[in-house]
């Protein structure tokens, strides 16, 4: 079902406040402009099924069993191995009574933490960047 808003680009706006997305429009449920200039921008006046389309960065799906697959680009999968090993080495360092084992485990934990941070924080976005080709600027027609 379509809405009654003819020009959403200049009759509607959104803003993010904390954990919510606020949608405001300046038309009534028939698509006519609101008469009061002071109270022009209000919540949308109509229910529109699948009316809002969001493009957003989301969290990868969690894994629930050993047969699951990782919901990330394969270029980043090795970082997960590093993260798991880092945690396990830290556990070993914290639980071992042997000072030598503890020291080696801490070193290995640091190494895997470095690997993880380099893979994700420093190169993560660049490694899986799929942008290419010549560039163009598309100026919107606001008429």
């Amino acid at each position: 079902m379509a809405s009654n808003i003819k020009y959403p680009e200049n009759q509607a706006m959104y803003f993010i406040e904390g954990d919510t997305l606020a949608l405001i429009t300046r038309v009534d449920s028939s698509g006519n402009g609101r008469t009061s200039s002071r109270k022009q921008w209000k919540a949308i006046s109509e229910a529109v099924t699948r009316g809002l389309l969001l493009h957003y960065y989301a969290e990868p799906n969690s894994v629930t069993s050993i047969t699951s697959n990782l919901d990330i680009d394969n270029a980043l999968e090795l970082a997960v191995v590093d993260y798991v090993k880092k945690c396990l080495y830290m556990d070993r360092a914290g639980s071992s009574p042997d000072a030598g084992v503890m020291q080696v485990s801490m070193n290995m934990a640091s190494k895997h933490e470095r690997n993880f941070k380099e893979a994700i924080q420093r190169y993560g976005v660049r490694k899986k960047d799929k942008t290419g080709g010549s560039r163009v600027v598309k100026v919107p027609n606001l008429v």
Partner: protein, 116 residues
């Protein structure tokens, strides 16, 4: 051409080469921790749809909020928002920078945090 990727099973095998006694559930929890950490960076773009409600201004983007099909949105950062026009097309709408609206419309709101 086949793409090489690591399944959870293979990941557990790699870990168990060094930690043979590591419990499977614990490794799965650690994998999920890693995915949450990785998710804070820009690794997954999703396109979700929400049904608007008459006179409702605020739409939840919390971890438990759902799209119009009942799937979890799992939003980390909103890139763009489109609103359906009178011909059924999605048109991009601008983001309001100055949020000091004169009118605070609280009709039909269920996503406002009231003091408790």
């Amino acid at each position: 051409m086949a793409v090489h990727s690591i399944s959870v099973k293979e990941l557990v095998s790699r870990v168990r080469l060094v930690f043979p006694g590591a419990p499977e559930n614990y490794i799965l929890n650690l994998i999920n921790d890693a995915l949450v950490e990785i998710g804070t960076y820009k690794v997954k773009v999703v396109h979700g749809m929400i049904t608007t409600v008459a006179d409702k201004m605020y739409y939840s983007l919390s971890d438990v909020s759902e799209d119009s099909a009942g799937n979890k949105l799992e939003v980390n950062q909103v890139l763009r928002v489109y609103l359906m026009d009178n011909e059924g097309d999605y048109i991009q709408i601008p983001r309001l920078i100055d949020k000091n609206l004169l009118l605070g419309d609280i009709t039909s709101e269920d996503n406002l945090n009231a003091p408790d």
